[in-house]
Symmetry: C2
Subunit: 145 residues, 2 copies
């Protein structure tokens, strides 16, 4: 198991412990995790802090040169908003735990030059499967449905 | 002048007073402003709170039915991230103060079914012109350049 994806899964699990939606993310630059995040819809009543957004926010204000060396890990395929953040900052690589539960605009992101790698990790899928079975309305809210 | 665009401009000016980037936004549902926001990069050291994101965050957790009746106003053309948030939540209408200083992926957003109206407002342009002349590096950071 990729240690960075494992760190993103750990974030997802932390979100679950907090009563939140179990999606996690880490930002890696030069082989080191510079920020971690997880979905904060429940915990902070947030409409914008998806895991990837929380991670980017926790990373703080970075330079374009920083982002251009970065890889963003997420346990779930980034939605339109999170994909847009990846494009805004020119993050060149995204590693996705799974895209079976939900698939964001991966083809569009790739067409804009981003390398997207989908791992198809069982634990990522299981976390979401169990969560959506338990709280379908919360999940729908998180993806605008 | 559209009262809602004026409210977004007022938000932009508030941001400037705070030492921030002068971009403002309001969210309108059923003819009423339900949330206001402005860019918080400087004020909160935020990488994700562009004006539109701050506005959506201030609106709190809304239902899909709420978003589907909404119009998002922004003094400046929404970037990839903010456009992605619009797509995520299915906001059907966006009113843009100007897209001369910066233009986000308007054609893509339109291709996904969003109605985008560009007002080409002089005050919106002047605010950004003066700000970028004074603080070009801050502006570049905000758009990932």
């Amino acid at each position: 198991m990729d240690e960075f994806l494992q760190a993103a899964i750990d974030e997802a699990k932390q979100g679950l412990v907090e009563g939140g939606i179990p999606i996690g993310s880490v930002l890696v630059i030069d082989g080191k995790i510079v920020a971690r995040g997880h979905n904060k819809r429940v915990q902070q009543g947030s409409a914008v802090l998806h895991a990837e957004m929380d991670c980017l926010e926790n990373a703080g204000r970075l330079t374009a040169a920083d982002y251009q060396k970065a890889t963003l890990y997420s346990t779930l395929s980034p939605c339109d908003m999170c994909s847009g953040a990846i494009l805004l900052y020119g993050i060149p690589k995204v590693v996705v735990g799974e895209n079976v539960t939900f698939q964001g605009p991966e083809a569009y992101v790739q067409s804009r030059g981003v390398e997207v790698t989908v791992v198809d990790n069982h634990e990522c899928k299981q976390l979401m499967h169990d969560f959506i079975a338990a709280k379908p309305q919360l999940w729908n809210e998180d993806i605008g449905e």
